[in-house]
């Protein structure tokens, strides 16, 4: 460990320090505004520290962490998403009774965990990052502990995540027992080199690891927690779970399976294909049956992770690019969609039933317009980031001739249109139909939330219309991934 290494992990250090500072500040004086400002400044500093870190990248910091363009790109994405989540949480928590400040400590801790995850190329840092992320998320999901649903969500998440972590650990142990290493790079060397070794423990090990990872991603058949946690958790926390938590895991998935070359194993390919197909179909079909917007978005996220797996299976740098691009688009869209839900929520309940959105256009045209754009992006309609993202996914799939998977992707995304359109139709129902009169004065929204939503909308359209600069940054980042 020397000076260069410290610079390389500066973003992680800044995040850690910020979490501690916010915690201490809460001890000294409880003020929601101060806590938020400290958090935002810390996150901004962490974001800025990516540049000094990138000047020394790529570098291996201890055997545990690799700081390369790929890790830094994802860290930037995570920090930016956390920034938006904090802004949304501020407006959301202002309406809530009870202590508010601790949520920011938890958010920062979770962001730290996710950042470690994207920089890990060792089983130990993988597990450490995952646990830091998960433990913070248990508390975050149940943060509004005087309500029933958040508590249910927190406990459900705790139990299932703990079990899946056990699966993951067992899987790691089996692979370690067989290969005698915890480093991704060395695993790759042994898998590829063709040195004859006993495979009996490799496949069970990989299967158990896929179980653990699949749980975190919320893909079928490990998706059971997703709708409940999405529904129960406070809306900004749901946004965080959907983006930072899942995004960090996808980044690790790419690194682990690409750098070890395990995605080339026929059986692994088969398992992921089945998971992808099941996620796309089940996610989209089950979403049709829901009446709760948060649950619809939960099932839609299952389907979207399935789409991402299709490109993941295509393999190669183009695929990594497509996955990363899709994830960026998905981050923006999901934050925007849950952002709308959270600015509409009040002190008693989240605005999550479809009835809350009926005729929204005639009451709040701008907000309804933003929600429309987010839904269209999820559905993959032009002018939005989701369209370009989906285009790259399909392109990656076709370039690897994954015809079956692409076919399922197409058909299931058409099924998905039904529920997006259903929300859209509700948004634009005329006042005469809903029976709700158009109020002359609508209560103003939290200003911070409106700014965040405006920023996300601009970004959504920008990526959708002129994706070239984003794509270039992503290509640059993915270049550092050592793909076998």
């Amino acid at each position: 460990m020397n000076g260069t290494d410290l610079i390389a992990i500066l973003p992680l250090i800044v995040l850690t320090v910020t979490a501690v500072v916010v915690m201490l500040a809460v001890c000294i004086r409880r003020s929601h505004l101060v806590a938020v400002w400290l958090t935002l400044v810390g996150l901004a500093a962490a974001f800025v520290s990516l540049w000094p870190a990138s000047s020394v990248a790529p570098t291996q910091v201890t055997p545990l962490l690799v700081i390369d363009g790929y890790a830094l790109f994802y860290m930037g994405l995570i920090i930016a998403a956390t920034f938006v989540t904090v802004i949304l949480s501020y407006g959301y928590l202002e309406n809530q009774a009870g202590y508010r400040e601790e949520l920011y400590v938890l958010i920062l801790t979770a962001a730290l965990g996710s950042s470690v995850l994207v920089a890990s190329n060792h089983f130990v840092s993988f597990f450490l990052g995952l646990e830091v992320l998960s433990v913070a998320l248990y508390a975050m999901s149940a943060y509004l502990c005087n309500r029933k649903l958040p508590l249910e969500a927190g406990i459900k998440y705790l139990v299932l995540a703990a079990v899946s972590a056990a699966f993951l650990l067992f899987g790691m142990a089996l692979i370690y027992a067989q290969l005698g290493t915890l480093q991704f790079g060395q695993i790759a060397a042994m898998l590829i080199s063709g040195v004859s070794y006993d495979k009996t423990l490799i496949y069970p090990g990989l299967a158990l690891m896929i179980t653990g990872i699949g749980f975190k991603l919320g893909v079928v058949p490990f998706h059971m927690w997703t709708p409940d946690v999405y529904e129960g958790a406070p809306a900004p926390v749901t946004a965080f779970v959907a983006t930072v938590s899942k995004g960090g895991m996808v980044a690790l998935l790419l690194r682990y399976f690409y750098e070890t070359g395990a995605y080339r194993l026929h059986k692994v390919f088969l398992v992921f294909s089945i998971i992808a197909i099941a996620s796309m179909i089940a996610g989209n079909l089950l979403a049709l049956l829901q009446n709760n917007v948060k649950r619809i978005l939960a099932y839609s996220s299952i389907a979207h992770l399935g789409y991402i797996l299709v490109a993941f299976l295509a393999g190669g740098s183009r695929a990594a690019e497509a996955v990363t691009f899709y994830l960026v688009a998905y981050f923006v869209t999901t934050l925007g969609a849950f952002g709308v839900v959270s600015v509409l929520s009040n002190g008693e309940r989240d605005a999550d039933s479809i009835e809350d959105y009926e005729g929204l256009f005639w009451r709040r045209p701008v907000l309804a317009g933003i929600f429309t754009l987010m839904l269209l992006s999820l559905a993959g309609i032009p002018l939005t980031a989701g369209f370009v993202g989906k285009f790259f996914l399909v392109a990656a799939g076709i370039s690897a001739s994954l015809w079956g998977l692409i076919f399922v992707l197409i058909v299931s995304s058409v099924i998905g249109l039904f529920y997006y359109l259903r929300i859209l139709v509700a948004l634009y129902k005329s006042p005469a139909e809903t029976g709700k009169t158009v109020p002359t004065a609508v209560p103003s929204l939290s200003r911070s939330g409106s700014y965040a939503l405006a920023g996300l909308t601009v970004l959504l359209v920008w990526i959708g219309v002129y994706p070239a600069p984003f794509l270039q940054a992503i290509q640059h980042a993915v270049l550092t991934l050592r793909i076998f």
């Binding site: 399909v394 058909v411 058409v414 249109l417 359109l421 994706p467």
Partner: protein
């Protein structure tokens, strides 16, 4: 650059109309009318300027184009280009665009700003479809026009509007995604043979494909366009969407959206996959004939006036399909006239039915009877367009269908005979409308206002244009011919070349050096 402006004017006008809708209901209408009117004038000027150019340089590919790198990493360009075919389609777009703003003047009273926002953006999307020559951009525009159309039907439509809107959206989206797969596959095959990633239409022409692959890709494109056209058996969305849409929506659907399907077949299906298209032609022509007869028979069976007019579209566009796959000069010229004349005559019929519904609040023919006594002018105008629809000589539709039949006759006698039977049935349903709704005694004692000034202002130009096309279609042919020859050249049988690099050289020799054609005059 002017091509970009055409689109930008519409997009900006849409946003302005949407914003101004919060202040008054008049501003959105005025802004939209001015924007579309301005675009219409520009397109006419372009036509006038280039009519001489078309005569002078019949060999050049485009007479106006814009080509910007968009996503260079994937070889995606923002490439708009115009030739005679797209020019005529663009003029038609603006003409019907003006009509759809005017026809909504009284009909739409709720959410006026957002209505005109959608209207402008649909027109912009359609314009993009007619002008795009980068396949990514084409797909982008193809999808872009769906969402505003969905809103137009779902918000301002009639009783079963949600059902109709969702059905329309799902049909077009699914078929569009199939086209996306075909586009991407073509893109990767082109890359594997030439090493270049490109979505450029001209570069993808003549990509070396195995016959099997060419057939699959051709079908991918074909299905997307056949749904829009609409071809039997992909038509079920059409009657619902047309019937439930507000009048302006029906006009745009019938007049323009269906044309994008035919345009896509002309521009992409046959030139990109000439061999496969030739092999598939008998099937397509038979499906076209089935569409002609089936649409006409169903139209005859309807009691809802709007639904009846909707089914006639299935029938008329069947001629377009037959003509496109007959692919000879006569047939293609016929197709062009069918597209334009059908856009105008069916658009006008939808506007008239909309006007009737505004007055009587019904579209059921049984409840209308003997209207001639109370609205003589309107009845006369309906009569005029119904006659156009039958194919009365002297009016536009006749020229189109006649030429198409002449062209088809050279390819298949059977198809031609069957298509003529379709025309016979069209006489039945047109006369049925006149007889049931307008003739006879005014038993329901309707007493209605006749066509007003605004309505006459819309109807008279459309009648004149139909007459003009019917009597002197030469200017249209003159504009279209160079573009048509070019398409035929693209689709000419390719000499068999085994070496991949050879394909590229050959294509350069045939189409001329890129520098000459690529420059804007």
């Amino acid at each position: 650059m002017i091509l970009v402006w055409l689109i930008v004017i519409l997009l900006v006008a849409g946003v302005l109309a949407g914003i101004s809708g919060r202040v008054s209901t008049l501003w959105p209408r005025v802004i939209s009318l001015v924007a579309v009117g301005l675009d219409f004038v520009i397109s006419l000027v372009l036509w006038a300027q280039n009519s001489s150019y078309i005569k002078l340089f019949p060999q050049s590919d485009w007479f106006k184009q814009v080509d910007w790198a968009w996503v260079p990493q994937y070889g995606i360009h923002f490439h708009l280009a115009m030739d005679g075919l797209s020019l005529l389609m663009v003029v038609l777009t603006f003409l019907l665009g003006i009509m759809s703003v005017l026809v909504s003047w009284k009909e739409i009273q709720e959410g006026v700003g957002f209505f005109h926002f959608n209207l402008m953006w649909i027109l912009a999307g359609i314009l993009g479809v007619f002008l795009a020559v980068d396949l990514f951009l084409f797909y982008f525009m193809w999808e872009l026009m769906l969402i505003p159309m969905f809103f137009l039907i779902a918000i301002w439509g009639h009783e079963r509007r949600i059902y109709a809107a969702v059905k329309f959206f799902i049909f077009t989206q699914l078929s569009g995604l199939l086209m996306l797969i075909a586009i991407l596959t073509l893109y990767f095959i082109h890359h594997s043979t030439t090493g270049v990633y490109t979505f450029e239409y001209r570069d993808l022409l003549g990509t070396a494909l195995t016959p099997h692959m060419a057939m699959l890709l051709m079908l991918g494109f074909f299905v997307a366009f056949a749904v829009k056209l609409p071809m039997f058996p992909f038509h079920p969305w059409l009657p619902d969407a047309h019937t439930e849409a507000p009048t302006a929506g029906s006009v745009i659907l019938a007049g323009l959206l269906l044309k994008t399907g035919a345009y896509g077949m002309l521009r992409f299906v046959v030139p990109l996959f000439p061999g496969a298209a030739h092999e598939f032609a008998p099937v397509a022509m038979v499906l076209g004939v089935i569409g002609i007869i089936y649409g006409a028979v169903l139209a005859f069976g309807q009691t809802d006036l709007k639904r009846l007019v909707a089914y006639t579209s299935v029938s008329h566009l069947g001629f377009a399909l037959v003509g496109i796959f007959a692919w000879n000069e006569l047939a293609l010229e016929g197709v062009l006239i069918v597209l334009i004349a059908h856009g105008i005559s069916t658009g006008a019929l939808f506007m008239l039915v909309g006007g009737l519904q505004e007055r009587t609040h019904t579209r059921e023919m049984d409840r209308l009877q003997g209207l001639w006594a109370t609205v003589p002018v309107m009845s006369g105008v309906v009569m005029f367009f119904a006659m156009a629809s039958i194919g009365l000589p002297g009016l536009g539709d006749f020229v189109g269908e006649f030429l198409t039949l002449l062209g088809a006759y050279r390819v298949s006698l059977g198809v031609t005979i069957a298509a003529v039977i379709g025309i016979l049935i069209s006489t039945l349903y047109s006369l049925k409308v006149i007889q049931r709704a307008f003739h006879g005694a005014n038993t329901h004692e309707w007493s209605l206002p006749d066509l007003g000034k605004r309505e006459l202002l819309m109807m008279i130009p459309m009648m004149l244009i139909l007459l003009w096309i019917g009597l002197y279609p030469q200017p249209l042919f003159r504009t279209f011919r160079p573009a048509m020859r070019k398409l035929q050249r693209y689709a000419a049988p390719q000499p068999v070349v085994t070496m991949a690099p050879g394909v590229r050289q050959l294509s350069y020799r045939r189409y001329g050096a890129p520098g000459i054609n690529g420059s804007e005059p």
